[in-house]
């Protein structure tokens, strides 16, 4: 039997030792008559070789971002992962261990998390960061709850240019504790959150305003200006970053007046994997650390005075505070955080800045190439590595035609924004070669031509 080492003799030895004639005697506490009589209705077990063939076959029914040119982003980004990342996270001392509850035999995990926390602080220019959360969307929900604890107020204002699935997650999370959620409109010309819309929604009961930067349309927000509006009402400004490579180029939330920075760190070292596992990050100011959810690693010493690391501030967490914990979260996404830390470290400051410039340049090149075939950006705001265009035809039809040329041309926004019927969100990263981009623009020209007739 796979993975189970016992021989019949072993099983007999155990039964004898426990004084039972059969396994059934050990199961006497199970309700009589409810025990399953037949086997589960599942496929029969497979030897490893056949299993691998089956999985390979199943995986081959998918089309990868390597086989087609993909211009998809929208919260999940296709980036190059250096070989060191998978090589190192594949060390089984990392991936087969659990939560570092016993610090003496978990210093590897603990130091790696401590370094990850530091890297997140450096990227965002915030004081403290936690050991990671499930993903960007749930991190925003946790940040909103945290803002309520800090301010003692209830209202939550979400920018309408925040990722729609993030907004939906916040609403789901907060339904039990009273929603008080409103949305602030975006400017249909600039594609950015309207300060006036925030002013209109904000009140003395507003706990926080949540703004994504670069936002879901790819546009850059003016966080510094929004911060003034938000802080005037003594609410907190939460910045959401779904594409953290942008922090190699853009001023970080910590110097733009943000109180909590959250987002998605998948871009660093984690494959797309059809949407997960990714990793939510959260960073904040020192004064708010006790209201922060999630694990935290701190530096201390061992009994001989040697530098050591351990989990700390655990009294915030569910296993001690139970229903009064800052969150119900128990784990983090440790291995994803490790991958992110290794990728960040591989890049270093120079590498990250170059990668950010490269992403920006690819997107600008694509933007310009599309302009030459008559596809114009939908908004006038600046962007990082993704942007929204407005097409003259139904984007779904265009995307279908592009698929025939092995191009995944972006995300039609209609499913999230019924008003944006003709809009397409397009992303370019270092994974899109100049040749691919040129081919995309040419293909776009090709599929648009019939409409011009």
């Amino acid at each position: 039997m796979p993975y189970i080492p016992h021989t019949d003799k072993d099983a007999r030895t155990i039964l004898q030792a426990v004084g039972a004639g059969s396994i059934d005697e050990l199961l006497a506490s199970l309700p009589a008559g409810s025990r399953l009589k037949g086997p589960l209705n599942l496929p029969g077990g497979l030897p490893e070789q056949e299993l691998k063939a089956l999985l390979r076959d199943l995986s081959s029914r998918n089309v990868t971002t390597g086989e087609y040119s993909s211009f998809l982003g929208a919260g999940a980004y296709n980036h190059y992962i250096p070989s060191v990342v998978d090589s190192l996270i594949s060390r089984s001392e990392f991936y087969t261990s659990y939560t570092p509850y016993q610090p003496e035999i978990s210093q590897g995990t603990l130091q790696a998390i401590f370094e990850y926390q530091t890297l997140v602080c450096q990227l965002t220019s915030m004081d403290v960061a936690n050991a990671s959360l499930y993903d960007g969307a749930s991190a925003v929900a946790e940040a909103a709850l945290m803002a309520r604890r800090i301010t003692g107020k209830e209202g939550i204002i979400l920018s309408a240019a925040l990722h729609p699935e993030y907004r939906e997650t916040v609403k789901t999370y907060l339904v039990g504790t009273g929603d008080h959620i409103s949305e602030a409109l975006y400017c249909t010309e600039a594609g950015t959150t309207l300060p006036e819309a925030i002013e209109k929604n904000i009140s003395d009961n507003t706990a926080c305003v949540v703004v994504q930067h670069p936002n879901f349309f790819g546009s850059l927000e003016d966080l510094a200006a929004l911060s003034e509006v938000v802080h005037r009402k003594k609410a907190l400004l939460i910045a959401v970053v779904t594409e953290p490579i942008s922090l190699g180029l853009l001023r970080p939330p910590g110097v733009l007046g943000c109180d909590i920075a959250v987002g998605e760190n998948q871009s660093f070292g984690n494959p797309l994997s059809y949407g997960g596992p990714y990793l939510g990050f959260m960073a904040t100011k020192t004064e708010f650390v006790r209201q922060m959810p999630g694990r935290l690693v701190g530096q201390t010493v061992d009994k001989n005075g040697k530098r050591a690391f351990c989990l700390t501030f655990s009294t915030r967490e569910q296993h001690i505070r139970r229903e009064r914990a800052t969150s119900n979260i128990c784990t983090n996404h440790g291995l994803c955080a490790l991958a992110a830390a290794i990728h960040m470290t591989s890049l270093g400051e120079g590498g990250l800045k170059k990668l950010a410039r490269l992403n920006f340049s690819k997107a600008e090149y694509l933007k310009n190439r599309l302009k030459t075939v008559g596809v114009e950006p939908a908004f006038r705001g600046q962007t990082f590595n993704e942007f929204t265009v407005r097409l003259d035809k139904d984007p779904e039809t265009i995307l279908k035609s592009l698929l025939k040329k092995k191009i995944i041309g972006g995300l039609a926004l209609k499913r999230f924004y019924p008003d944006l019927k003709q809009h397409l969100l397009i992303t370019a990263t270092e994974m899109n070669s100049k040749g691919e981009i040129d081919a995309f623009a040419d293909a776009m020209a090709g599929v648009l031509v019939p409409a011009a007739k």
């Binding site: 796979p2 993975y3 099983a11 995986s59 993909s70 999940a76 450096q122 993903d135 039990g176 994803c336």
Partner: protein, 492 residues
């Protein structure tokens, strides 16, 4: 008994920032094949960043050595016996790791059109069905990221059900043996927690539930087998009573490893269960995540599960967003897909017969440890256990030795300590879960070590107080960590 600290691996390793030398790059990004954009001309200066203060510049080889060294200070399932109760630290098959890394799974964007991801959708659809079959549930969502995330999802579905029927309920009953996530998730879902005590034999009685169950109670949230390692023998009568009062029974599926192919919780009156794929279904714990916490429900609750649901029409799979009663979303996209691939791979490798054998063997191993240690350590509930057993430090306290000392000494003997000080109802608890993947020889070695430690507690208690002796660091000052918090590295 030899002590297995490997002194050669205990070399110092600074934090990565202290190895930085400005200007170094580990792995250079790709080169510019498009013209470099005039950034300063396009983006206003006040939006651009200057230095990334403190970011480490390290060579590739230094990075490799750094993380390799760190990994050597860790103890994983691959390093040795890891009987961490409640966590099911079973072997993590290597073929699963390979499966998750197949390009056809790893290089899929979540917004790719459905026609390009039929294999992924089929895998998810089938995994949902397997989990439903194993637990006796009608519908399963794979979206939640972890056990606690699944709990929240299940409780929100229950809450939505009552709101939808026009009579919201406000309370959830939780036994004193529960994991801390249960009350925390209930609170987040908007429920008031009503605690209930387990009876003398460590299980819930129908009378105890009758005492607290009323028409404001949305659900009873129990764990079965419970955290003492005992099967909740009265579950059927209790569930019947809860149902009669219009409530649901939520089962924390953390301990499902005891039940596969033996009994279906759905047939015992459980209406909601979360599966911890990182426990029962062999996906690695990753040093603390990522896991995956799918949720199974009975028919009445299915309309409330998160969107999207996976649909099969003839031989085509698709994502169904049109679920008006759905609670919404627990996260972006569809869940921790690469963890699902590993769990799928595990179930296909084991088959029905293998899963049953896994649960039976887990029970045998736990009982073997229980029988062998029960004179040596205090066993508060002396009954046949399921997949784990709980001792206490009662016999050792007289020598001034407590559970923590026993746990730390086990490290010197080359074992990961069990879960300690949980469940809270057992003072000084030592919770041992051997799992089915350990050999009899390993169990015997562990038993010998535990007995040796009990002996040391009498003859040389100081050895336990000083333990562990052979590790990278010795006992860590957690008080200092909390009183003088250093939560990040700063240039000194």
């Amino acid at each position: 008994m030899s002590m297995n600290g490997a002194k050669g691996l205990l070399l110092e390793e600074p934090v990565i920032f202290e190895k930085s030398s400005p200007g170094r790059t580990g792995v250079e990004p790709a080169s510019f094949d498009v013209p470099e954009a005039d950034i300063e001309g396009i983006i206003p200066k006040q939006m651009l960043r200057g230095a990334i203060e403190g970011f480490p510049d390290v060579s590739e080889m230094d990075i490799v050595r750094h993380y390799t060294r760190l990994s050597q200070w860790n103890f994983g399932v691959d390093s040795g016996f890891y009987p961490l109760g409640s966590c099911t630290m079973k072997y993590n098959p290597k073929v699963n790791e390979e499966a998750a890394r197949l390009p056809g799974f790893a290089m899929l964007h979540p917004y790719e059109p459905e026609e390009l991801t039929q294999g992924a959708l089929q895998l998810m659809y089938e995994l949902e069905n397997y989990l439903a079959e194993i637990s006796g549930m009608d519908a399963v969502t794979l979206q939640p990221s972890a056990g606690a995330h699944g709990e929240l999802c299940g409780l929100l579905a229950i809450s939505a059900y009552f709101k939808d029927k026009g009579r919201p309920r406000t309370k959830v009953i939780i036994p004193d043996t529960a994991h801390g996530t249960n009350p925390a998730s209930s609170h987040l879902a908007g429920f008031k927690v009503v605690p209930v005590k387990s009876e003398g034999r460590g299980v819930l009685s129908l009378d105890a539930i009758k005492g607290v169950m009323d028409r404001d109670v949305a659900a009873l949230m129990l764990t079965n087998p419970n955290t003492i390692g005992l099967f909740e023998r009265n579950i059927k009568e209790i569930a019947d009573f809860v149902h009669k009062k219009g409530g649901f029974v939520y089962c924390d599926g953390a301990n499902l490893n005891a039940l596969m192919g033996i009994i279906k919780l759905g047939e015992l009156g459980v209406d909601v269960i979360q599966f911890n794929l990182h426990k029962t279904f062999s996906t690695p714990h990753g040093g603390g995540g990522p896991g995956s916490g799918p949720v199974g429900v009975k028919k009445a609750l299915a309309p409330y599960l998160p969107v999207p649901r996976i649909k099969k029409t003839r031989s085509k799979y698709s994502l169904d967003f049109n679920r008006p009663k759905s609670i919404g979303r627990m996260k972006a996209f569809y869940g921790n897909f690469s963890i699902m691939v590993r769990a799928y791979s595990y179930i296909r490798r084991m088959g029905a017969e293998g899963l049953k054998r896994a649960s039976e063997t887990a029970i045998l191993n736990a009982n073997y440890i229980k029988e062998n240690l029960k004179g040596t350590y205090h066993l508060p509930y002396d009954e046949p256990c399921m997949h784990e057993c709980v001792f206490s430090d009662k016999y050792q306290l007289g020598s001034g030795v407590a559970t923590m000392d026993i746990a730390k000494r086990l490290i010197d003997y080359g074992f990961h300590p069990p879960t300690v000080y949980f469940p809270l109802v057992v003072h000084g608890a030592i919770m041992i879960e051997p799992t089915e993947t350990e050999t009899l020889e390993t169990l015997d070695k562990f038993i010998v070590a535990m007995k040796a430690i009990a002996e040391e507690a009498k003859t040389s208690p100081q050895a336990l107080k000083d333990a562990p002796a052979n590790t990278k660091v010795q006992r860590v000052d957690e008080t200092k960590a909390a009183r003088e918090p250093i939560l990040r590295w700063r240039k000194g």
